[in-house]
Subunit: 293 residues, 2 copies
C-alpha cells in the first residue's frame, strides 16, 4: 500500500492521527521536498516524531523515477509525505496514475492546504475565483497570463489567491547547459516582490491597468507563514503594501490575495485588524467594496 | 484561549496531533453540529478518543448565544470543533470577531476541508472557479442564482464545486409559525437530487441551457463520502449521472463537480476509472474538453 499523506503547513504536529499511524506502519517514508517546505520543522524533527528515517525526494525522482518510490508498495507499506495536502497547490496524480497502471493500491490521507487555510484571513472561500501562480520574472522572461486571470476574477467580483514562486534545487541556465548538477540556493517569492511584478506588468499593459483601476484603490492581503506560530496577515492597498517595509512581512512562505469587489460587513470588520492603515482600509472597503446591504 | 479546531471529514483519527493536544488541554469542548456531520463517527467516538465530554451546539447557540461558548475562554482553554476546516464551506469568523471584541485570545488549528479535499478526484484545484451551494427546492422556492455561477465558470473553462444542501435541526414552516421547537429529520441532498434540480432549472431557462449545451455532453463527477473509507467518485455526463441508479452513489454526504472545458491528458486518464461508461468518458473528454496539447 502507498500512503500519500498531507502533513500540513508548519509544525510536525500538524499531521493527523491517521497519517501518523500510516507512517508508523510503513517500511519507507519519502518526503516530497521540491514544491513547498515545512516552515517550523526540519526533516530531523519529523524523524523524531515518526521514529522513522525520512528520505527527501526531488522533482527528478518523483517525476521520472517514481517507480523507486512506489515499487516497494506492492509488498509493504510505503509513505509519501507532501507538505499541505497531496492535492493542494501541486497535484500528485501522476504518481497515482502510475500506481493504477501497476496495480499498486494507495490511500490518500488529507490535510489542510494553503488553498483552504487562507480562509483564516476572514474572506469566505466561496468568493474566490481561479487561483494563480506568480512566477519569478527573469531579465528575458516576464509572462503575464496570471495577471489576466486576476483581472478576470476582479471584474467578476471574486478574490484571487496568488501563490508565489518557490525555487528549490534549481540549476542556473549555465549549469543546466553544461550538465553540471550544481543547485542554486532556494528562493521564495515575497509579497513585496509579487507586488513589484504586478505593478511593473500593469505599467506595460494599459488595458489591464484600466480594468483593475489604480493600485491605491485595490485592496489586498499579504499572507505570511500561514499556519505557523508566527503567522501574519497584512492588509492594505497594493500601493500601501508595496511601500511597506519588508520587515512587516517577515520570512517566507508568503502568498497574496487580491480582493474582489465584494466584502461583507463581518469580513470588513474582522479584517480591519490586519490593515496597515485601519481607517483607510475601512474607508475603501465601505466605499468601493460594499456590494451587500 | 479559544481553540477553533478543524476535525477533518470522516473518522475521529482525522484530527491533528496539535488539535488533539489542544482538546486535551481544554476544560470544555463544543462541536459545531449544524453545517456538516462526521461520516464515520458519532459524538461518543470523539469522546472516547479525546477523553473529554463533547457538547453539540446548534445554529442558534453559535450564532446568537456565542458568549456561552467563548466566555469561559477568558480564564481557561475552550475547544470549538468544526467538521472539516473552520474556514471551509462555512466560515466562523463571526465567532472570532466576537472574541476580538471581548479581548479573548484564540488559535486556529486547520484541517482538510471539502474545498481542497476534492482534489483527490484528479482535477487540479487551480482550474476551479467560484464554489456554489445548491439549496433544496421547495414547491414555492426555486432560486437559480447558483446556476448562473456554474454557467459563468463553465464559459471560462473552469470547474465548479457544487456543495449540496444539508438540513439539520430545521423546523417545518408550520412548527416555526407556531413557535414549536419540533425538528424535522435531517436531510442531505444527494447527487441525483442536485442533478434533477439542475436539469429542471435548465428547462425553465433557455439562455442558460444554451450557454451550457446539452446535458448529455456536460461531464460531471459525483463525490460521495469524501475522505471516508467508503469514498466513491462517479463520473459521467449529467445525463448519465441522472439516469444512474441511486445505489451507485450510496449514502451522503455528496457533492458534485461540473467540469469546465479543460481536462489535461493526465487528468483524463486518471479520472476515467470513475466513469460509469469509461469509453464514452474518454471520447467526450478528448473531443470536447481537450484544450491542451
Amino acid at each position: 500500500m502507498l500512503f500519500v499523506i498531507g502533513i500540513g503547513l508548519s509544525s510536525p504536529k500538524d499531521i493527523t492521527l491517521r497519517g501518523l499511524e500510516a507512517i508508523k506502519s510503513s517500511s519507507k517514508v519519502f518526503l516530497e521536498g521540491y514544491t513547498s517546505i515545512l516552515m517550523e520543522s526540519q526533516k530531523e524533527d519529523l524523524e523524531m516524531l515518526y521514529e522513522q528515517k525520512v528520505i527527501t525526494t526531488d522533482r527528478e525522482m518523483v517525476e521520472t523515477q517514481s517507480d523507486e518510490i512506489i515499487n516497494d508498495a506492492q509488498k509493504e507499506n510505503v509513505a509519501f509525505l507532501v507538505v499541505g495536502d497531496p492535492f493542494g497547490a501541486t497535484t500528485h496524480i501522476d504518481l497515482l496514475l502510475r500506481c493504477d497502471q501497476k496495480n499498486i493500491p494507495y490511500e490518500i490521507i488529507h490535510n489542510v492546504s494553503v488553498m483552504n487555510g487562507i480562509g483564516a484571513c476572514g474572506l469566505s472561500l466561496y468568493n474566490f475565483g481561479q487561483t494563480v501562480s506568480i512566477p519569478f520574472f527573469t531579465d528575458s522572461w516576464k509572462p503575464t497570463s496570471w495577471l489576466r486571470n486576476i483581472s478576470q476574477n476582479y471584474r467578476l467580483g471574486l478574490h484571487t489567491l496568488c501563490l508565489l514562486d518557490i525555487k528549490v534545487k534549481e540549476q542556473s541556465e549555465e549549469n543546466l547547459a553544461r550538465g553540471k548538477k550544481i543547485f542554486e540556493p532556494p528562493r521564495f517569492m515575497t509579497v513585496p516582490t509579487a507586488i513589484q511584478q504586478i505593478l511593473s506588468s500593469l505599467e506595460q499593459d494599459a488595458k489591464m491597468a484600466d480594468d483593475l483601476g489604480p493600485p491605491n484603490k485595490i485592496l489586498a492581503i499579504g499572507i505570511c507563514r500561514l499556519g505557523a506560530s508566527t503567522q501574519a496577515f497584512v492588509g492594505g492597498t497594493l500601493h500601501e503594501l508595496f511601500q511597506a517595509n519588508d520587515d512587516v512581512f517577515g520570512d517566507p512562505l508568503h502568498c497574496l490575495i487580491i480582493i474582489g469587489k465584494c466584502i461583507n460587513p463581518i469580513e470588513r470588520d474582522f479584517m480591519a485588524k490586519w490593515a496597515l492603515d485601519r481607517k483607510r482600509w475601512q474607508e475603501i472597503a465601505l466605499r468601493d467594496y460594499n456590494c451587500h446591504d
